[in-house]
């Protein structure tokens, strides 16, 4: 069993590394986008599905990550990917500070509080001329990476981030912190009474989620070579994360993977096959999400798993076998 898993992982890694030589440039860009979206959705799922924190402001970390990378790369005159680690570090630091006051808000208030914070950061950046103001800034240092290497590198890094987001969340949920998060989600009074530190567990999840979104955002805008406040802090980032998670299955690790497939399949179907505008696509996506909330609030993955059977990426723990009564 263990050997089979390693084999699958090795084959997967070889396929990802070889992909740029076999896949066209357009398809490669599409795959990178999907991988980054998966990472962001998984980060949102960690908050909403496990930590009980619905954030409507995760786009602030997408944008901050992008700006951190652009600013550092341009000021230090280094190729963008060398300064990539700065993006999640900055986002984690900002998240750690704002958590101190946003955590005073609960449920819907937290959701909109994070959104207000995102708007404030977007307004402040669009007033900062050093960061290009409302017009935004380009990424001239991308030239330090050979033109032929930018797309494949972006793809590899995106794939690594997506795998890292899923595997990292899995590892986190299997840890003590994850167990604490899930007990808090299921019954916060009972969790607190057995000594689970509710605040600390949520804090860890919020900071990690911010770092993940910042990392994915930084890579996403490196691929477009341009960042402006209206794109970087666009609420549609969080709209996409939410819809992917809701449709796929909130509070499951496989849900966002299924959700990303549906999200992009629906997008290609509606905008390419039927030639609809992006607006109608969002209307369609919204209707699917509303229907999911009404009829199948757990999302589509639980349905699919019931058909397929098996444990997949379940983080469930099995109780130790009971000792035989003497």
């Amino acid at each position: 069993m263990k050997a089979a898993r390693w084999l699958i992982a090795m084959v997967g890694a070889v396929v990802v590394i070889a992909a740029p030589w076999f896949v066209g440039e357009g398809a490669l860009r599409f795959l990178s986008e999907a991988m980054l979206m998966l990472a962001m959705a998984q980060m949102w799922n960690l908050l909403a599905g496990y930590a009980g924190l619905v954030s409507m402001g995760q786009q602030v970390f997408v944008g901050l990550g992008a700006y951190a990378l652009f600013f550092a790369s341009i000021s230090l005159k280094l190729a963008p990917f060398w300064v990539l680690p700065l993006a999640p570090i900055l986002c984690a630091a900002v998240a750690a500070v704002v958590a101190l006051f946003l955590f005073r808000l609960r449920e819907a208030y937290f959701a909109i509080g994070t959104w207000v914070f995102s708007e404030v950061v977007a307004l402040l950046i669009s007033k900062t001329e050093r960061l290009g103001g409302e017009r935004g800034i380009g990424l001239p240092t991308a030239r330090l990476i050979g033109a032929h290497w930018l797309e494949p590198l972006t793809f590899w890094i995106s794939a690594a981030i997506a795998v890292g987001a899923v595997a990292g969340t899995y590892a986190l949920l299997r840890s003590r912190v994850g167990l604490g998060l899930m007990t808090v989600r299921d019954n916060d009074v009972a969790a607190a009474s057995i000594g689970v530190d509710v605040w600390r567990n949520r804090f860890i999840a919020f900071v990690l989620s911010a770092a993940g979104c910042g990392l994915a955002g930084a890579v996403s805008f490196t691929a477009t070579l341009y960042v402006a406040p209206s794109f970087a802090f666009d609420p549609n980032w969080v709209v996409a994360m939410m819809f992917i998670v809701i449709i796929g299955g909130i509070g499951t690790l496989e849900g966002p993977i299924l959700g990303v497939v549906i999200y992009f399949a629906l997008r290609e179907l509606l905008t390419v096959a039927f030639g609809l505008t992006g607006g109608w696509y969002l209307v369609g996506l919204g209707l699917v999400a509303i229907a999911t909330m009404l009829f199948e609030p757990a999302g589509l993955w639980p349905l699919l798993r019931a058909r397929l059977g098996g444990e997949w990426l379940s983080v469930r723990r099995h109780p130790p076998a009971r000792a035989e009564a003497p």
Binding site: A108, G113, E119
Partner: protein, 288 residues
């Protein structure tokens, strides 16, 4: 002098913000649900207002508030009956948030496709420019009408909730949804009417705001954030708190614009974040 004028105008503007938020405060208080499509309904009512002005140009836009409010009431009633009542009893507190967020995204993009993304305003005729001099201060007539209307609606809502049989039923439902069933009250129906009232109040604010500044289908986000800030700053469940919260935000925004012309709602948002940090239960919450 200019500062006094700014603060007076901020107060007049803030009354409108209070009106934006009071509908949201109402449903939060009664059914513990935050309607994330609140902003989109505010914008939709402004679009309905613009369409009505086009259809019956001889009626003054201020009078068109009445039919728009009736339509908004019907929309709210329908939204609650068809969608939100199905999730409001679920133990998961996020069901209604996610559902109404889906509604918001659908409505926003439908409005873009139907009405276009260009900025619009509701023409208020000569009233928009008219200004009155009060002891040397120049104050617009329209803002005074708006503040007066807000105060009338606030008082009316307060009276309905505290003095009428319907108000008693609403307050009882808010306190014990399951117990009122024993008295023959159907909480779902009460919720329908409350959501209708919430959106009717929001539509009045939406029409008045559209007379003061332009709007696009994307303005709903900003309207929702302001409404929400009003609710939180005002303290949950107090309507006069919502009014004071709105006025505080209105003053913050106009004073901010005085020394920083392209700030937009930045200072109102900052005030909100500071307010949350210092008084997470609201600035004006009654100590009970």
């Amino acid at each position: 002098m200019i500062w006094v004028e700014t603060i007076v105008n901020g107060t007049l503007y803030g009354g409108l913000y209070g009106l934006l938020g009071v509908g949201l405060a109402l449903i939060v208080g009664v059914m513990r649900v935050v309607n994330l499509s609140h902003g989109e309904f505010i914008v939709l009512s402004a679009f309905i207002g613009v369409s009505l002005v086009g259809a019956v140009p001889w009626v003054h836009p201020l009078l068109l508030i009445v039919p728009v409010a009736v339509i908004a009431f019907a929309l709210g009633f329908g939204l609650q009956a068809v969608l939100i009542n199905r999730v409001v009893t679920r133990p998961d507190p996020f069901a209604a948030i996610l559902l109404t967020f889906g509604v918001a995204v659908v409505m926003r993009n439908l409005m873009v496709e139907v009405f276009g993304a260009d900025p619009r305003t509701l023409p208020a005729g000569r009233l928009a420019q008219a200004s009155a001099g009060v002891f040397g201060l120049h104050v617009g007539v329209l803002p005074i009408i708006i503040l007066a209307l807000s105060i009338v609606l606030f008082t009316g809502l307060q009276l309905v909730l505290t003095r009428t049989r319907f108000g008693r039923i609403v307050r009882a439902t808010a306190d014990h949804r399951d117990v009122v069933r024993l008295m023959g009250v159907n909480p779902g129906r009460v919720y329908n009417v409350v959501m209708g009232l919430s959106l009717a109040l929001a539509s009045v604010a939406g029409m008045l705001l559209a007379m003061r500044s332009s709007f696009t289908p994307y303005s709903g986000v900003e309207r929702l954030l302001i409404s929400f800030e009003v609710v939180v700053l005002g303290g949950l469940g107090t309507f006069w708190g919502a009014m004071l919260g709105g006025i505080t935000l209105g003053i913050a925004e106009l004073v901010g614009l005085r020394f920083d012309t392209n700030a937009g709602p930045l200072y109102a948002h900052l005030l909100f974040l500071i307010g949350v940090l210092l008084r997470p239960n609201g600035l004006f919450r009654a100590r009970s």
